[in-house]
């Protein structure tokens, strides 16, 4: 049997169902995002861990020039090494009919006669390689899909300067190639980079590595330090041209996915609280209105003998029901949306499987935070209900007292007509409420500002990278560094306007406890096609001594200009050098380091060498040029700037960055919801006053002014506050969206602020129009009879 108070509760909710639903939806949006993103983080982490475990992904990678196969056993015998496996990992090119640009490829060996002990592959179509078959390959599934290749097809590959025909027998996925990036490049591109798996002997034959390996993979036991093992490995493999062992943490594909997951995690913790804050504000307004209207009923209930706690509990239940309803809806929507998106995520992250699962704690957090936010808001109001004396019911209604509130200063007041006074006093009488309304609108607006700013920041990242820093049309990379004559060979090709050589070497940089595995890009003097730029977008002159670091790299190494950096170069005679950091470059893609090519070559004692070149070309002759480049055996790859630009855009638009679209849409809805709700409630509170004004002969527009003027004033106040909040939220969200691959700059984009402000103004105007309609419909007679 429901108690009478509980019956009242359900009828009250039914009565304000419109607003109750609006608030539930705001809470639900917050909880949906939280549950979905949290579930995604959870699922991606679980899936990644399971995938890594099931396919035995190595924990340490040790590339070498050439090590005899027995070294693998030596490595396996090291303390703390559980499994070691040798393999061949080499580069090549795939020649696809109809594609002029050479497509880069990585060939990885698989052991014959047995399963690989580490880095196994998941076969998604076709069959595994058969032992002793030299022309069979497995092809990376995502690449095959891009080019519509299937088991049974043949393809031509150039490796070590010779052409080979291969037969595709199966399509595969692997945990080490979740992101496929050509060596030395940053942006993953499924169409332009392939991985093939071949029998070990077949690959060894191509690269003259019989009885040898060029990469050793290992897994270590938990109780030894990875750093110790890496040091030991480097020492052991140094005679064989060790290029520096590194752990999974530094593995590019893994780093990328860890970053994406972190990015999702940060967003899942920064954005939902804004929603819950807004919902709390709305609930506060609704409940405060209810308590105000039901003042007499509360007094009467007290007169009947209900305790303050029982009555407080009644209103509290109202809040909790709405909050819990919203949270429940949010949980369900979050799970549903997560499930629907997981197919998309599986494809994007290239997992063979992805089970969407939400940690139960996400539900608990969703519920508790919704209810807590809602209760916090309503407790303020409930205190008023508690303090209400029972005699209230018997007294005639007292008009709200304006004598004790803030007064309009005299000089201002004399200029105002009565409607303006009413409007201003209504704001001044409850400054806390006006402030909350302002904050509520500002919160919704700040979310729009932040999302819009971050959106244009994404564009800025792309534009800075591809219009200011990289202005080449084509980047050519050689298999091995070549002598300076290569520059002339490129220059002599038809359609080449300008050639700027570069040298790229992989390095380990150290500053105290901080280190970073990456590469140094060494550029020619006064480059025009690819430049390091400073914060004001001016080209930085590369010094004859010293290095220029990108901002993100300097931050990771915790180093400032003027300080000295230790660099272990992993190529050539592998010198370890100390260089001063000369200045900081502003790049938004990756974490590059720049040097002058003369300086680097001098340090390497390899004068005139280049790893590749940036070209500007005649677009009319591009196809012919690509074909010529494809036929040059020294060329490892050709990167087109426009292709990189669209590839990075795709990464930004489909990964964690895709969330920005969902959030912008929700932000717009919230801004409108808050503005409209504020206006609606203020209308409900003032209906009787407004009707009285109409009766006194004020026209509809004069009456509308009293109400809408207040809305306009609050919306106006909210604009600067929203801008300020938006500025801070932008930096928070920009940081959250930044990954290892790209940084989203904290940029002040006036257009975003303008657009968000316009959004609030439009919301206010639309709310005003809707309300003006209500003012038209005001029932004058009944409004006057209501005693309030």
């Amino acid at each position: 049997m429901l108690s009478p108070l509980d019956k009242k509760l359900f009828r009250d909710i039914w009565r304000v169902k419109g607003q109750a639903i609006a608030i539930m939806l705001v809470i639900a949006s917050g909880v949906t995002l939280m549950v979905m993103m949290d579930g995604m983080v959870n699922s991606l982490t679980d899936t990644r861990d399971t995938y890594y475990e099931r396919y035995r992904l190595a924990e340490v990678f040790a590339p070498v020039k050439r090590a005899p196969a027995h070294m693998v056993d030596r490595v396996a015998d090291l303390d703390g090494v559980l499994v070691a496996e040798g393999r061949i990992n080499a580069a090549g090119q795939i020649n696809l009919p109809g594609i002029d640009v050479p497509v880069r490829m990585q060939a990885v060996s698989l052991p014959e006669h047995r399963q690989p002990g580490l880095n196994a592959v998941y076969l998604s179509a076709g069959r595994h390689l058969q032992a002793n078959q030299r022309d069979e390959v497995l092809l990376l599934e995502s690449f095959a899909r891009e080019h519509e290749l299937a088991p049974g097809d043949r393809m031509t590959v150039t490796m070590n300067g010779a052409r080979h025909q291969f037969h595709i027998v199966g399509l595969a996925q692997s945990p080490e190639f979740l992101y496929t990036t050509p060596p030395g490049e940053l942006v993953p591109d499924e169409a332009r980079f392939a991985v093939v798996w071949m029998n070990q002997k077949a690959l060894a034959a191509v690269f003259d590595l019989d009885g040898a390996v060029n990469e050793i993979l290992l897994r270590t036991s938990r109780d030894v330090s990875e750093t110790g093992i890496i040091t030991e490995l480097d020492r052991l493999l140094s005679p064989y041209g060790g290029l520096g062992a590194y752990s999974l943490d530094d593995h590019l594909s893994n780093r990328f996915i860890v970053d994406e997951i972190n990015s999702l995690r940060v967003s899942s913790r920064t954005v939902p609280p804004v929603f819950l804050g807004v919902a709390a504000f709305l609930l506060y307004i609704v409940i405060s209105r209810m308590v105000q209207v039901e003042r007499e009923q509360i007094g009467l209930l007290k007169a009947f003998g209900y305790s303050s706690v029982e009555i407080g509990g009644h209103y509290f239940k109202f809040v909790v029901l709405i909050a819990a309803g919203g949270a429940l809806l949010g949980c369900l929507m979050g799970v549903w949306l997560g499930h629907s998106l997981s197919g998309f995520y599986q494809l994007y992250y290239k997992f063979p499987f992805l089970v969407f699962s939400v940690d139960p704690s996400a539900f608990v957090i969703g519920f508790v935070s919704s209810v807590a936010a809602a209760s916090a808001a309503s407790l303020l109001v409930l205190r008023r209900a508690f303090n209400l004396p029972a005699a209230e019911a018997m007294r005639p209604p007292a008009p709200p007292d304006y004598s004790a509130s803030l007064q309009i200063p005299k000089p201002v007041s004399t200029w105002l007509d009565q409607p303006s006074r009413m409007m201003l006093r209504s704001v001044l009488r409850q400054p806390a409420r006006a402030m909350l309304a302002t904050l509520g609108i500002a919160a919704g607006m700040s979310l729009s500002v932040a999302m819009l700013s971050v959106m244009s920041a994404f564009d800025r990242t792309i534009s800075l990278s591809f219009d200011v820093i990289d202005r080449s049309d084509v980047t050519v990379t050689f298999i091995e560094p070549l002598g300076s004559s290569a520059t002339f060979s490129l220059q002599s090709l038809d359609g080449v306007f300008k050639v700027e050589p570069f040298r790229a070497v992989s390095v380990l940089m150290r500053n105290g406890v901080h280190d970073y595995r990456g590469s140094i890009t060494a550029l020619s003097e006064n480059p025009a096609l690819y430049r390091a730029v400073d914060v004001s977008m001016q080209a930085i002159d590369l010094p004859t001594e010293g290095i220029v670091l990108s901002r993100s790299l300097a931050e990771q190494l915790a180093i400032l200009p003027g300080q000295w950096l230790t660099i272990e170069i992993r190529e050539g005679r592998r010198p370890v050098i100390e260089v001063p950091v000369v200045s900081i470059a502003d790049t938004l893609l990756g974490s590059p380091a720049f040097m002058s090519i003369e300086t680097l070559n001098r340090l390497l004692k390899e004068p005139g060498r280049l790893s590749g070149a940036y070209l500007s070309i005649d677009q009319q002759q591009s196809q012919r040029l690509y074909r010529q480049l494809k036929d040059m055996p020294a060329v490892a790859g050709v990167t087109l700037r426009e292709e990189s630009r669209s590839a990075i855009r795709e990464v930004m638009d489909t990964g964690a960055g895709a969330m920005r679209f969902i959030m912008t849409a929700i932000a717009a809805v919230i801004s409108f919801g808050v503005v409209y709700n504020t206006a609606r409630i203020s209308f409900a509170e003032r209906a009787r006053d407004l009707a009285s004004l109409r009766v006194l002969g004020l026209s509809r527009s004069e009456t509308g002014f009293v109400l809408l003027g207040e809305l306009a004033l609050i919306a106006l106040l909210a604009l600067p506050v929203g801008c300020l909040l938006g500025y801070f939220l932008t930096s928070l969200i920009a940081e959250a969206f930044s990954t290892d691959l790209y940084r989203i700059p904290m940029a002040f984009v006036p257009a975003s602020y303008g657009l968000a402000m316009l959004g609030v103004v439009v919301a206010a105007v639309v709310s005003g129009i809707l309300l003006q309609r209500d003012i038209h419909r005001l029932d004058l007679v009944s409004a006057l009879k209501i005693r309030e």
């Binding site: 005639p396 209604p397 304006y402 004598s403 009565q418 009285s692 002969g697 026209s699 006057l784």
Partner: protein, 240 residues
Amino acid sequence: MADKQQPLPAFNVIGLTRQYGEGAAAVHALQGIDLQIPASALVVLLGPSGSGKSTLLNIMGGLDHASSGECWFFDQALHQFSEKALSLYRRQNVGFVFQFYNLMPSLTARENVELVTEIADSPMAADEALALVGLDHRLDHFPAQLSGGEQQRVAIARAIAKNPTLLLCDEPTGALDSATGRTVLKVLQQVNQQLGTTVLIVTHAAATAEMADRVIHFADGKIREVIENPAPVPAEQIVW
């Protein structure tokens, strides 16, 4: 037949009906009212709740539309007025006084009166109107700082400040004790006598009838009886 010399009555109501709702649920608030109210009269409309007296007052005040019949205010056909014309009619001719005063809580006594004088054609000064109701010492008080009787007097001052032709009062003493009620009635009588304003008072306090020139008794949406009162009693002598 009306004599040509005789002035037009303030109100001439012919066959007025007002129905709310449809079919079986229909409520017939007014069922064919015929009535004349001379200018400058003080008329009391008496009757139990739901008898139709407030409905008639609302139609005469331009707050509601009749379902059928005619309602003439001097030579103006209110029953043909648009919403906008009614608004203008209220603005120019009618002063309202309600049971619950309907003051703007955010405006002081003077400002509440100015609310109306700002939009009226030839108003009296707000201070003057408040002096007429004996509130010249409470000009800058907010409604919350005034007693019920004082609030009602501000409402009357607000109603008369624009020099209306017509003062419509719906239960003006309904929320007041008898002493305060008498003060309010006295003010209404004084406005009628000094300014010549036509005053219509809806009430169910029968004693109020003693101060009227004419008393109209309502029952079940019809006029049951109209009584002329040649010797109205001063309001301060009324007992109820």
